[in-house]
Amino acid sequence: MCYNPRAGRYNPGCYIMNKCFHIAATLVAILYISIMPAGAAGKSEAPQKAREGIACFEDLRGRVLAVPSSTVQDIYVEEHYPDIKLDRFDTEADMMLSLQQEKCDGAIMDDVICYALVRKTEGVTILPDSPVPPCQMGMVFGKHNAELCQQFNAFIAHLKSTGELQQIMERWIKHFDTAEMPDLKLPTEGKPIRVAMEPCTEPIVFIKNEKIAGFDAELIHRFAVYINRPIEIVEMEYDSLIASTTTGKADMAASGILITDERAESVLFSAPYYDSHSRVAVLTKNAHSSIVTGNEGTPILGIWGSIKRSFYRNIIEERRYMLLWDGLKVTVHISFFSALLGTMLGAFICYLRMSKVPLLRNIAKVYIDIMRGTPVLVLLMMMCYVAFTQFDNTPVAIITFAMNFAAYVSEMFRTSISSIDKGQTEAGIALGFSPVRTFCYIVLPQAVRRVLPVYKGELISLIKNTSIVGYVAVADLTRASYIIRGRTFDPFFPLLMVALMYFLIAWLFTYILDRIGRKIC
């Protein structure tokens, strides 16, 4: 903040300069933190004695282990190794990042993922053992989809018998960085199978060159050809995958889902198609020398080089900017229609709230209280997974945000309308305007002028709130950054670009609003 004591008021120029300095300083800080694990951290940090010499899983006792939340690894380690502190994550990429930043001492995950990640990440080594018993991966089907499940089992049996399954597996697991999706001619006729996937996990399901790729993805494509039905991929958060098959959002779910008894109670699992062993990754410099194999040092690029490489990898490579562009379109789409619908609904709620009929007033009051008292994320999940399971998630999300937005803006409308002096209405009526025209010509313009500043704030907060639609499988801007991070394990540019884009959307919306506001008042 910049206060000029001589002028006795804010000096806007000084303020802006100060602001710019702040932003620049913040950027530099973020930049530094993000490239630390790649370049600087390795040489500048003094080796920490306590973390050195991890040779096997037992050595992790008393330390921090990153686990994928609510997986077999999570449950097993918690039960058998109570002295290991667990950090739970949604994606393996985040776990790896946490490991690189030394927030944890090890990261446990499925072996396929682990091999892929370690190959992409410098300075990480895999421990030779893991106590977690092997687990089997299977596709998930809703209980009502037993027929489809049978077909899939037959398909897997066929692949096993021809040895194709083994080939596919080796291609993706051993040579995932060069592996390509087979050029299959997917059927287009008939009722599509909707497959829920989380495309953030190499090499199981991920986005490569804007297309879905990976081990599970190939299986699904081959399965589609096998039963001659088209497929429709529904992208969503890992946590939502299994639920989506029971609510009917998807017919089946794939993404390296492990078969557990608990899960089998609510859904059907296909026959297992892969035995997954858990593996633990640790930082090479913390690992005992006996388990470290030839670790070729990576060239140190310097700050500018790191930034350039990071930008290229995250934004340019594989045309990843298209992911951001598509996400941007979705975010703008959801924000715009939620704001439009929410404002109209808000006006209606405000009308009810100010009604002379006590019943209507109370309905509005209860509505406002409920909407303001529940987290919009919970509301969104309820709308998508409980109330409107048969609908597409994007319109449902728009309606949810609109409902939430309406509750807030209706109260804003009400306070601004009732803040207009009653004399204004009286003068309008006395001049010969009907009550409705008095409201339109006299009260509304004044109320709009008063509500605009707070309304703008609420609108911005709505735009930012839309970033949670990823939870219900809508591929928005935030989701795009997840997908990119899932491939590159580099948080800086995806997050920075997304932050910048949200800022631009918010700026654009408020700019338009200002123009409209100036026209009305």
Partner: protein, 356 residues
Amino acid sequence: MIQIKHLQKSFDNLDVLCDVNLNIKQGEIISIIGPSGTGKSTFLRCLNLLEQPTGGSIVIDGEEVLNGKVNASKLRQKMGMVFQSFNLFNHLSVLDNVCIGPVKLLGKSRKEAEDKAMELLKLVGMAEKASSMPSELSGGQKQRAAIARCLSMDPEIILFDEPTSALDPTMVSEVLSVIRALARQGMTMAIVTHEMNFARDVSTRVVYMDEGIIYEEGTPEEIFEQPKRERTRVFVNRIRDFHYQFHSPDYDRFHLKSEWQAYCNKYFLTRESMRKAQLIGNVLFRKLPLGKGTLDFYFRYSEKTREMSMEALLPLGAEPVGLENNKVIAELCSAVEYNMEDGRVRYKLKLRHLNR
């Protein structure tokens, strides 16, 4: 033009207007005066249906307006209203305030409305401020702009609801002169006001409202010079009463004294007046029969004429006591008389004018 018969208005259980009867003819300028809270403003607001009367009838140009069939908005267009708090539309410039009615309601073109508005603003002396926003104006300027807005609809009558009550004393006159100018042009007006001199100069008829009815009406001379009824007299002469009840000869002297002191301080009685009143009082309380029931004593002082008088309402059955023969009283009072009222004797003493 407007006939009002048995008009009633009550809010919940409070009867504000009980039975108001009034005829307003074309070209009349009617001032409505009276104490606060007697329904003057409510009456005015009932006329253009800002308040819905609860009973009675209002006939405008031969048409009953309280039967619910009349278009209230159309009616209000012919009946301008000027408010105590001005109520200019805050989001519009002065010019737009004056134009909005003709453009939106009378369907005039913007150009036509603007020309007319400028003319009206010239009339009220606000042409210079046409492009100002209401927040930039003084109270008097706001009220004049509001009058121009009112005139823009070519009303047949204008209702003024205490147009100068919210103004600084320095700005009152600029608004009153605008109203005077309108009066000279023959505009029909009904004005609720506390400006007695103004009411007296400008009106063709003065209506005194009290107790929810029209208590007395007449020409300004009749109302201000010879009010016929007691309350009117009290109001126009700004008569202030001091009332004390005696129940026994051993009344609480100190209580009486402190009440009297408070009264004198409140209405700025001179030391001289106080002394004289006390002299007469001493005689009265000695002579009058204080013990045989309730005796009501009044002291009256007119802030307007500075006349003072005393009244004593003797207990039931008490005989006149021959006050007129007392030397002190004869010297200080210009008239002493009594009459019978419901079996009680009422003495009236008029104090001599003090040499000022």
